[in-house]
């Protein structure tokens, strides 16, 4: 059976390009070549809301008479409390007014209704990573390129953020407990093996950590993690597996430095942790990873999920698994010295470039 290892980037020094895009049209505040900090706002926009006002119902007039009574017309701004329409009464000197209950811009009239667009929220787009603006996406954002360390992860809770990396004391196998957390962790991205329970996630929100990066997440915590206000990323998968040593050691090497937790985009699918590092990089065109003797790999399925090693041999023979599959394998020396055969499909080639 033909098989391919996937490729996962865990690189101490590389180029990372991210497409940063507002959810609505807005103003882009940077130019190509601008140097940006991760928390710098590079575009702004406004989320709109719409309110329909039943003017004809209030003034007791017919639909086709609406325009006759309007003081403000489509395209004009109106303030809350301002007169929108007036109808003269039957008696002299009497009139009925329709007062706008909201501020906004009149965008349309029809079916007896006046539609006002209001601003519900201003949205700001941050650069997300320290780097340089490479390209502008008109009205929406920019492509930002940064140099530094990248650890691609397999799952994120849909949030992004920045903070200082802090490794939990017990390391890659430790589980974050509520008791471990105190206000001193505020603004830090905590790196650990896993999370003990929902209480730990809640406490982390209370003390406002900048993010959490774990090796694995118990499946029962997934829903809770999705509802947290800070970013969470998982390097290995769901269940109870320690963080792979190659990812953990990289984080440890940059402890105390600022990092960004970023989501996948149209340039790179996977979420990642990015740590900016100064220097020069020679880049190569992306091409499928080539597995060879000496390649660093990580197991992606039980029984070797999350275990790292080095390929010792790529046998020509195929191996019959207990499941009945006949597969090509790699002989891998794991970090504990054990040599095992792992199906190529169940391996991830670690891209350190």
């Amino acid at each position: 059976m033909m098989a391919f290892p996937g490729v996962i980037r865990i690189s101490p020094y590389t180029l990372l390009r991210k497409e940063r895009r507002l959810p609505v049209m807005g103003d882009v505040l940077v130019q190509p070549g601008t140097s940006v900090e991760a928390s710098q706002v590079i575009a702004k926009g406004f989320l709109s809301d719409w309110v329909c006002l039943d003017v004809i119902g209030e003034l007791n007039v017919s639909e086709d008479q609406l325009e006759l009574f309007l003081i403000k017309k489509p395209g004009e701004e109106i303030e809350k409390g301002e007169e929108l329409a007036v109808k003269k009464g039957v008696l002299p000197f009497t009139s009925y007014s329709y007062i706008s209950p909201v501020s906004g811009r009149i965008v349309a009239t029809g079916m007896g209704q006046v539609i006002i667009e209001t601003v519900s929220k201003e949205v700001e787009l941050k650069a997300g990573l320290k780097g340089t603006v490479k390209e502008i996406i008109p009205y929406y954002g920019a492509v930002v390129e940064g140099k530094g360390a990248v650890v691609e992860t397999v799952w994120a809770n849909g949030r992004e953020g920045q903070g200082i990396l802090r490794i939990l004391e017990e390391g890659k196998t430790s589980h974050l407990r509520a008791d471990d957390l105190d206000p001193g962790n505020r603004g830090f991205i905590l790196v650990c093996g896993g999370v003990e329970d929902e209480k730990a996630l809640e406490k982390a929100a209370d003390i406002r950590v900048a993010g959490i990066v774990v090796g694995s997440l118990k499946l029962g915590l997934r829903k809770k993690a999705l509802s947290m206000p800070y970013p969470i990323q998982v390097t290995e998968g769901f269940g109870d597996i320690p963080m792979s040593s190659i990812a953990f050691e990289l984080f440890r090497g940059y402890e105390g430095q600022e990092a960004s937790l970023l989501l996948g985009d149209s340039i790179a699918r996977r979420p990642c942790v990015f740590i900016p590092v100064a220097g020069e990089i020679i880049t190569a065109e992306a091409s499928p990873g080539v597995l060879k003797v000496g390649s660093k790999v990580r197991g992606s399925r039980d029984p070797y999920r999350g275990k790292c090693g080095v390929v010792q041999e790529l046998p020509r023979y195929e191996v019959h698994l207990e499941s009945g599959y006949t597969v090509s394998v790699a002989r891998v020396r794991l970090e504990d010295g054990e040599e095992v055969e792992i199906p190529l499909s169940n391996l991830e080639l670690i891209d350190e470039t």
């Binding site: 391919f4 719409w50 119902g57 998968g237 269940g239 992306a286 039980d302 698994l321 169940n346 891209d351």
Partner: protein, 584 residues
Amino acid sequence: MVENLIMGSILSIDWGSVESKAFLLDKADGSYRLLAKGRAPTWGLTSEENPLVGFREAITRLEQAVGRKILGEQGYPLLPEREMEGVDALTISVSLAPPLRVMLVGLSEELSLSVAREALHSYYAQEVGSFSFLGVPDKSRRLEHLIKTFLSCKPDVVLMVGGTEGGAMEPLIEMANMLALAYSLWTDTERPPVVFAGNSAARSQVAEILGSRTEVRVTDNVLPSPEEENWGSVFAELENLYQQLKMSQIYGLGPLRSLLSVPMIPSASSFAIITRYLAHMYGLEKGVVGVDLGGSNTTVVAATKEHFSITVRDELGFNKALYFVEEDHLENIMRWLPFEVESGKVAEIIMERHLRPGTVPVSKEELLIEEAIAREILREALLLARKQWRAFLPSPHHGVMPPVDLITATGGILGSIPQEGEIALILLDALQPAGVVNLAVDKLGLSVTLGTLAPLNTAAAIQVLEMDTFTRLGVVVAPIGVAPEGELALRMKVSFDDGRSLEVDVKAGALEVIPLPPKRKAVLEIKPSGYFDLGIGAKGKGAKVEVQGGSLGIIIDARGRPLRLPPSPRDRMEKIQKWLWEIG
């Protein structure tokens, strides 16, 4: 009819959301055959969001298998073939484009919108928002709700439904006016087209009201009467719109498009063409059902010589089975396992398949869990699909699969399971075929892409379909009905084509296999007991049929229809293990 335009080598690609498959077809001894194949994950070979990497890798693997250069310097296939390099034609079926984002606009939640929701499953489409006219009584709030939903969900298409034939038109006209007002607020350049599938009497007025705002496409009413649903023409419009709006956005399509010998078509459409071919080609009066259990979606096609229906469950692919985790339906999966397992383990496998689609199970336990997931996905997909077939594939018994002639199955997971008996058992458990039904599996996934060949070289498509596509598993004899276990279910005489014969009594609850190798034939004289109907519409009525063999042979499934699992977990696990042993 345009036919046989190309007589040389053909590169046929199925460009899937999980895997890209490349097939080289060429003439061998006068007819087209599959010469070589190559496959690669569409994504994941690099960190880049570029499906062309997987596309090219699949062709590279094909080149290695056949020892011939197909890709040119620019990374695109060389056309036409010159001195044993390149190919004469290129066809592509594709399922990697995202689904159409559809907003539903209808009169009532209970009738109009629920039918429209089901109609959406006829193609690659997902609901991103809905509006029910009768759901909000106040006029201002109603308009406000429509505007907010429309402008915030940013649909690719609006599907407007409502009213039965001969019903009142006024609410539909008012709804069209409201929608026109909402469209006037749309600021982006491309306005989503409206597909109107409501009361046909309102068509011209709806088109007139909305026509000045956007493109309006009109189809048959999805709900002609409260008792009748009609999704056929909505499917046709969704198919057109998917090709127009979504497939055109695929990365790298520009240079590929100019190389294509026929337009690229969605994989589900290609699979439907092949399933319909099978019904025609073999004159299958009772029809064919084809299932494609893919990584991102599951397609079910039912076809007779005159009719067909297609259902694409976009949220139900083998690597997107999160539904079972989210909705807490893991028990449904676990009931198909012959051993006890914690629900967390099943959920973990579902999540891991989602995160890393290309992995293979190492232990038998994990394989059986994956097979159980496959069963439940197929069952879910079939529930909805069967509603569509009612008009042309009626079942003589409520809740039982209509007795069709042939069931075909394909898709990554079904194609990769090593034991053919286990593939057959998944189909028996999930689809519950009834009567006398042939079973075939397409392990390579050719049936998903061969439909693209139809306008190019019909003969090639048929030749490859007949010779290289399907592995016949065998024929299933599955009487409909329920009887106490141990009672006689049927008596059968098997007269083999070598002159031997065999008589068997099969008891209710049993699953038995009588070997009949591929290309061998036998005549079955089947006499069901008074508890069972052979799909003829009468209990106890017998039949005499000639059948062909397969890798398994004749499978007698007397477990009853509908299939009921023992309520006690222990009994159930024992039964399931026994069935696995019986079928090999």
